[in-house]
Structure formats: structure tokens, C-alpha cells
């Protein structure tokens, strides 16, 4: 009973939304990369670096907007770096992604130590918090009213989902990205510059990763620590796979992953299951979801 009460509380919904956002941004990044035919493993790394840069810039400028902007730019730079590696140096994009993830996990600690003199977290330089937007009247609706008193990035994320949908159906670049991902050779034969299109896709993906990163270090927590992304970039890739490249389905699956994460946190007080085992839930859920997805795909064939 206690469990049901917990699940149907506004608090649970709020936590779920908070845990959904980084996964959703990662999933959108994966979606755009995937549409362009790139397996973008670097989302995790981009999120990590963006989270740190966003947090630091917001601390030094005392402006959360500049922090967000810095995070987005960092994500874009990471995307450009991946593009350089796979297009100019012709490194296999999976390998380059792994390398850039290694780079990211070392670079953030190196930078943090060079600037703040600590390797743990940025408690010495707490980031500016991204504010919550409360929409009058709408927020008073019972239960779903919670949806209208969320973090600024919540609304940004919803708008992004709609924009991504429009982008792929209405814009030239969006259609080019889709055609490159569908068949790069065919796209090349009608005069589309494949590398350029993939470059733009990686930039967009980078911006989404950046948003996911700054949400973690500037809203979910008020400091950065090096393990904070904790595989969310990869869970995002899984959510995108579940959503089969459709923005709203991706949103739905990101939310399911967010709820599972939220459950594993709140159940620690409500149930007597050890927290270590509850911690495995989001990852276990990802594996099960990927299995179901591939079984389903096989049936369709």
C-alpha cells in the first residue's frame, strides 16, 4: 500500500521528471546522430564535459543562462571533435566515441584540479541553479499541475521534442540527414555532401548532450562530480532505440526510464530492499527493454 501511495504522489512524478530530463536529452542526441547513420557513443562524454564547463561558467559569471550556453557550446565542440575524428582522420566512429569518452572522463578531473585544486567535486564553486518556472492557474490543477511548475529545461526539452519532429519532416537539412542515414551512397549520388550533413547532425546532437549535462550539474545537483552522468548517456541511446527514431515515442521511453530510476530512489525508504540492488534497476530495465525491442523487431520481419 505504501508503495502505491508513493508512486501516485506528486513528489514521485517530480523526481521522475527530473530523472527523465538528462535521459531525454541524451536520447534526442542519439536520435539525431542515428538518423544521420552515426553510432554516437560520445554522448556520455559530451554530457560529462558540458556539465563541468556549464557549472564552472555559471559560477564565475553568476549567470545560469551563460552556464547553459557554455554547456551547449561545449557539447557542440565535442560533436565537432567526433566529426573531425571520424571524417578527417577516418577513425571508426565507435572507436573515436570510446576514445573521446576516455578523454572526457580524464579531462574533467584534470580541469577541475587545475582550476579548483580538487578532484572530488565542485563544492568550492557551486553552480548557479537553473530556475523553476511556475505557470499561474495551470499549476493549481491537481496532480498534473506539477507539470506546470517545473525547471526551465523541462519546457526546453518538450519544445526540443516538437522541434526535432518538425526538423526531420519539414526542413531541408532534416530530410538530408534522414537520407544520409538511410543510404549514404544514394544520398551522395544525388549530390548531398554526406560528411557535411553528418557534421551538422553531430553538432545538433552535441547541443542536446550539452543541455543534458548542464541539467545534471546546474539543476539536479548544484555541484559537478566526475561520476555524475553515470551511464545516462547510454541509457539515452537505449531509450532512443526503444522509441524507434520517433521523437514522441523516445520521450515516452525516456520517461519510463526516468520513472524506474525514480522508483529505485524512493523505494529505498518505502521498501526494505537493499539500496545496492535497487540501484541496478535502471540498468536492468535497459537490458530488458533492449531485449524486448529486438525480439519485437525480429517478429516484424
Amino acid at each position: 500500500m505504501k508503495l502505491l501511495e508513493m508512486i501516485f504522489s506528486e513528489e514521485f512524478l517530480t523526481t521522475s521528471i527530473q530523472l527523465t530530463l538528462p535521459i531525454l536529452f541524451a536520447a534526442l542526441a542519439a536520435l539525431v546522430s542515428n538518423k544521420a547513420g552515426i553510432l554516437n557513443i560520445n554522448i556520455e562524454g559530451s554530457m560529462t564535459v558540458s556539465a563541468l564547463i556549464g557549472a564552472l561558467i555559471s559560477f564565475y559569471t553568476k549567470s545560469y543562462l551563460l552556464g547553459i550556453l557554455a554547456g551547449i557550446i561545449t557539447g557542440i565542440l565535442m560533436g565537432m571533435l567526433l566529426s573531425y575524428c571520424s571524417h578527417k582522420l577516418k577513425t571508426d566512429s565507435a572507436l573515436a566515441g570510446i576514445a573521446l569518452n576516455i578523454f572526457a572522463s580524464g579531462f574533467v578531473i584534470f580541469l577541475m584540479y587545475a582550476i579548483l585544486g580538487t578532484k572530488g567535486d565542485t563544492t568550492a564553486a557551486p553552480s548557479m541553479q537553473i530556475p523553476y518556472l511556475k505557470i499561474p492557474f495551470l499549476k493549481d490543477i491537481p496532480y498534473i499541475g506539477v507539470l506546470f511548475e517545473q525547471n526551465l529545461l523541462f519546457y526546453v526539452a518538450i519544445i526540443c521534442v516538437v522541434l526535432v519532429l518538425l526538423f526531420f519532416n519539414k526542413t531541408k537539412l532534416g530530410l538530408h540527414i534522414k537520407s544520409v542515414g538511410y543510404n549514404a551512397e544514394a544520398a551522395r549520388s544525388v549530390g548531398i555532401n554526406v560528411n557535411k550533413v553528418q557534421f551538422f547532425a553531430l553538432i545538433i546532437a552535441g547541443a542536446f548532450s550539452g543541455l543534458g549535462g548542464v541539467f545534471l550539474s546546474m539543476s539536479y545537483l548544484s555541484t559537478f562530480n566526475s561520476g555524475m552522468v553515470a551511464g545516462r548517456g547510454f541509457i539515452g541511446i537505449a531509450a532512443e532505440a526503444m522509441g524507434a527514431g520517433k521523437p514522441f515515442l523516445t520521450l515516452l521511453f525516456s520517461f519510463i526510464f526516468g520513472m524506474v530510476s525514480s522508483f529505485s530512489i524512493s523505494a529505498q525508504t518505502a521498501l526494505s530492499i537493499p539500496y545496492e540492488l535497487l540501484n541496478t534497476l535502471p540498468y536492468l530495465m535497459t537490458i530488458i527493454a533492449l531485449i524486448l525491442y529486438s525480439i519485437n523487431k525480429r517478429k516484424k520481419r
Partner: protein, 376 residues
Amino acid sequence: MSKIKNLCLSLFEKVKKAIVNPSRKQKSTYFDLLRTLLAVVIALIITCVILIFTSDQPLIAIKSLLISPFENKFWRSEILRAMVPLIFAGVAASIMIRCGQFNMIGEGSFYIGGLVGALVAIYIKASPIVAILLALLASMIVTALFGAIPAVLKAKLKVNEFVISLMLNFIMLWIGMFFLQTYFRDEASGDIATYLIPEANRFKILISGTYLSTNILVAIFVVIIAGIFLYKTKYGYTIRITGDNQNFAKASGISAVSAIIYSQIIGSVIAGLGGACEILGSMDGRFSWKTLPGFGFDGFIVAILAANNPILVPLAALFLAYLRTGASLMSLRSDVASELVQVIQAIIIIVVAGQAFMARYKNKILNNIKKDGEVK
């Protein structure tokens, strides 16, 4: 005696011929070696530039990174000690990459292998050698079971092994933490750690005055076995063919599915063995890892440097271990964090794996040989 002499002579002739008059394939190998060296040099130059800009004592930092690891016997032995887990991780990754599998389970397998190895060594009642062997065996069995999960899923359902293995790593970590915290924790240690492993059930120190233990012998043994397995057995051949071209493998009646399964299980098992060897040869004598140790990703770096050849893995591992030792010295003696080494590694991988890096020169050199051949 004369047999050995003949063997040496013929080997010498071979080497001489390879240097004086190399075949196209040999020239290509030299070129790849040169390319790798150049990548390393480029990465080190970038590092020095970063250090000059970020450190207050760049010269001390550069010196302790590059030269200090060789300054005395202790630090030289530390390089070898750091090399041991990298060898296991590198061999594990090489076998999986050779089969075309990007599986990161080495990370979790190192963790679980270390925990299981420690537990068996602590609680078993047996003579030391049997105890160590059983500890290693147990860690291999458990990691084989975990390794089978992404392997079978990939082979039977085509689920991406990369994402599955990453998720599985976190699951292995938390399952391990659960058992460690709930059942096996030594409260007196003041840490989340197991009880001390009895002195007799650990690997002995190999060179007195250092921490280098006999687990390095296990690592070398694994390299040799893996080399024989990959290049001299039917199973190894199947793995290589599957990795080169799965469709060709299928068309010629080779079971790619089974190669995909056992390559990943073997990878997981070698990493698990590495974890157990690392803990049983460590100086604190107990298991106290609270996060994933990072050797899964390290394995990939080593494998790429070694061109996915287990025989070359010790060399690549030695180089990486030298960098790591230098990095810890650098963070001890200057104001630079040792994590800079990860930045260096990333640059090396990207450049080494970059097909376009120096490709033009390679074609030039190889084409020259072709012309020479025509003249002759």
C-alpha cells in the same frame, strides 16, 4: 646444441632478410609500427604544450611524467606492476575486437573477478597453491556466466553488445557492492572492504624491496596461451575470420554465431582472472573497490595499440603502464592531476585508429615496392 644454433642462425637470417629486403607485407608492418610511434610522439607533444600552459612548474611536470619512472628500481618495478592488469585487460579486449565485438564487460568482470577471487582466498580451507588456483578458477567461472549474457544476446537476438555490456557493468558493480556490504564486510577495516586475505593465499613478492608479485607470471602465461589460441587453433581462426568478414565466414560454413559467443565469454573470463590476480597480488591484501576499476576501457586502449594481437599486448601494456606511473609521479611532484594521462591515451587511440593518418605516405611507400618488384 647445434640444433639451437641452427635455429638461431635461421632466425637471424629471417630477421636480416626482413630488414634488408622486406616484402610488401613486412614493409606495411614497419609502416604501421612507425605510424603508432608517431602517434605517440604527437600525443606527447600535445601533452607538453598543455602542461606548459596549465602548470606553474611545467618542466618538473614533464620530467616526472617522462623520465622519473626510470629513476630507480622501485619505480621501474611499479611500471611492471601497473602493466599486469593492463595485460589481462588488453588480451581480453584483443580477442573480442578480433571477432568484431565491441564489448566493455572487462570493466565489470575485473570487479566481480577480484571480489570472487578475494572471497575464495579468504574463506577456503586448503593448501596455499590449491587455494590460489581455486580462487582464480572461481573468478573465471563467475565471470564466464556474466560474460555469456551479452554474448548470447548478441549472437541469438542481435542486441548491441556495447550498450548491454555497459549496463551490465553497473549491475555487476552493484551486485558486488551488495554482497560486500551485507555479508563479507570487515567492520574493523574502517572501510567497505573484505577481511584480509591470508598471507599464504596471496601471490608472493617477486623482487624484494618492491611490490611486484608473481601474478606477472600468470599474465605472461595468459599472453602465450591467447597467442596460441588465436593463431594456432581452429577456434582462433574462426574468431579471426568472423571478425574480418562475417558474411564470408557464414558463406564458407564457419559458425560465426558460436565465435561471437565464445570470443566474448573468453574475454570476460580473462578480465575476471585479471581482477582476481590483481587483488591476490595487491599490497593491501583485501578487496576494497567501490567503483568500477576502469580496466575494461584500458583494455581497449592496449588492444588498439597492440593492433589486436595478444602477443604484442605486453609491449602496449608496458608503454601504458609507463605513462601511468609517470602520471602518478607527476601528480605527486607537481601541480598537475594524474588524470591528464587519459587525455594522452585518447589522442593516441584516435590517431592510431585513424585510417587517414599518413595513409597517403603509406600508399606511396607500398607502391614504390610494387615498382621495384616489376623491375626485378
